[in-house]
Amino acid sequence: MAHVTVTAKRSNIVRGIKRPSTPYLLLLPGLAWLAFFFIFPLINLAGTSTQTPTDSGEIGSYIQTFRFANYIDAISGARDQFARSIVYALIATLLALAISYPLAYAIAFKSGKWKNLLLVLVVAPFFTSFLLRTIAWKQILGNEGPVVTVLRWLHLLSPQSGLTASAFAVVTGMTYNFLPFMTLPLYASLERIDPRTLEAAGDLYANAITTFRKVTFPLSLPGVVAGTLLTFIPAAGDYINATLLGNPKTKMIGNVIESRFFEIVDYPTAAALSFLLMAAILILVMVYVRRAGTDELV
């Protein structure tokens, strides 16, 4: 034992010359990236959020006055859109989970030689732009599109009404667009499950449903948490779906921020709303991750 310790120490000393600096050097590009493109803009945005218009009244010209009341003004003007964002994002996340779970399960356990092809198909939508896909979705749900035609034929939809320009279209659009973000982490966690643990559950008197409830699902929880976060977070801040598939009554917080920034040129309000959205998502996510208790797993 003594001999081993001595050798170990010596090799530490030998390598010690290089060792401490290497990890930091490797971290450097990433840290620099974060500093320039995340931390710096964030500080900038924080500064903007407490500015007020200059006396000159010139459009887009603001001065720092540390007016924190900007936040109260911002939220009181966009309370509905804020709530809607959270609700739409939640519904889209739940729908995506309901669609993705069976899909990921089938790919992980039942697809055999088709596994890789199916995974490529899940990722395939990324080969076209987000915007184009949403426009395509608008056509699918459009009055001349297949969905409306079928629903009208089945008398489930009256001839006067349609599906686009509605909350339904916005939520389904978001569900569709963020589906791969849900499917991939779910697949990854399901695929990691040793099929023999499932056999063991069957061997220990659990039928298929109980095996799923007590073994498969708990073991896939890390994927469920990752997938729901990757879907919910971008969905809550999304404005493309609401713009292309919605109507004035389905505006989300992203739409408000966008119009404040680019149309009204009200930078402080837009910045304040951005921060509020970030804070809201952060709090929700923290509560969720705590409740899900995923650190116990793995």
Partner: protein
């Protein structure tokens, strides 16, 4: 459905069990009875069909034909969860998200037993791991996980406990220790254990009865002593321990012994140990275990003119490789009691042994069957 579990007891009967994967018969018309309360081993090289047999008993594989019954209850097509059978899986297959306590309690809870604490505590004490009840499986060593896998199965008091290469992942020392421990647990709980292994030493240490499997069939079944002392096929003679097999011709009878001419030497084989299929067949293989041969003492059966080509000292014994005049190499193990210490490479020696240790096998079989099929054991 689950009621079967509680009420079924008795011997395990496999009748004409066959499992085919396409054209390949993994298990071929297998019939056997495993008495209640015994420690039974299915021994064979990988691919011999032993694991498939076990999986059919567990309900994880459906037989192509044949019947599986425990006592009078037919369980051939019963779902795994409704069988009174529990399995200790090769890689243990513990539930990684549950504590050790919950792992062990899993089967009891599924059967609707409310108060599991006493049973779980008791079985954890039996495997001496009560203090780890609140840990997760990853926090345990391989040997500890192995014992939990056993505890998780036996806590359910199944009619039958299946062990699929349960010690395969452990190192040699731990494996020896677990062999003794498993045997002790079996005696303690009195359940029927069916143990699948490719390790002949493991099977011999633990099992009351061993069935040696080869190519989907049972070659021979018996106690470890029977299989070792009186192997009936070349496969068994070579797979369990080592054997010297020499071709000979039956020339007649001497009393109750069969007389065989082996390269000009007269060798006697007791008629009761003649396992050659057909006695009219004049050609036989005579067999003798290496440790039964003496280089020093003269015995009735002897083969002369051997030259020592290799000597290796292995502690309790010394192993000699001896080249016979007809070119074949035979093995001899001599006890290290001083008798054979003067022997050196190149010495010419005579090998002799008692006729009662000799056995005769079918002369048409392949002399090397069962010798080199087991590389992972080395």
């Amino acid at each position: 459905m689950v009621d079967i579990a509680a009420s079924t007891k008795g011997d395990l009967k496999l009748s004409n069990l066959t499992k085919a994967f396409g054209d390949f018969k993994a298990v071929d018309d297998l019939s056997l009875v495993i008495p209640e309360g015994s420690f039974f081993a299915l021994l064979g090289p990988s691919g011999c069909g032993k694991t498939t047999t076990l999986r059919m008993i567990a309900g994880l594989e459906e037989p192509t034909s044949g019947k599986i019954a425990i006592g009078n209850t037919d369980i051939t097509y019963a779902k795994p969860y409704s069988r009174p059978v529990n399995t200790v899986f090769q890689n243990y297959a513990l539930f990684p998200h549950l504590t050790i306590f919950e792992n062990v309690a899993f089967g009891l809870r599924r059967r609707g037993i409310k108060d599991v604490t006493e049973a779980v505590t008791k079985v954890l004490a039996l495997v001496e791991l009560g203090h780890l009840a609140q840990r997760k499986p990853v926090q345990l060593s391989g040997g500890q996980q192995q014992r939990i896998a056993v505890a998780r199965a036996i806590v359910n008091r199944p009619a039958l406990l299946l062990l699929d290469e349960p010690l395969g992942a452990l190192d040699l020392k731990l494996r020896r220790q677990m062999q003794i421990e498993l045997k002790w647990i079996q005696t303690e709980v009195g359940l029927t254990f069916v143990h699948v292994t490719h390790d002949q030493e493991e099977a011999m240490t633990m099992a009351d009865t061993i069935a040696v499997m080869n190519e989907g069939r049972i070659e021979q079944m018996g106690t470890p002593v029977e299989l070792y002392e009186a192997p009936r096929t070349v496969f068994v003679a070579n797979f369990l321990g080592q054997s010297n097999l020499v071709k000979g011709k039956v020339v007649g009878n001497e009393g109750s012994d069969l007389q065989v001419s082996v390269h000009g030497n007269k060798i006697n084989v007791p008629a009761s140990r003649n396992f050659a299929k057909d006695n009219s067949e004049k050609s036989v293989l005579i067999g003798i275990r290496p440790e039964k041969i003496s280089i020093e003492h003269a015995e009735p059966n002897s083969l002369g003119g051997g030259v020592i080509t290799d000597i290796s000292f292995v502690g309790v014994s010394t192993q000699f490789q001896i080249q016979m005049p007809w070119g074949q190499e035979l093995s001899v193990f001599e006890q290290n009691d001083g008798g054979a210490s003067h022997l050196q490479k190149g010495d010419t020696v005579t090998l002799s042994w008692k006729p009662s240790f000799t056995f005769a096998l079918d002369g048409t079989s392949d002399v090397d069957a069962g010798t080199s099929v087991n590389p992972d054991e080395l």
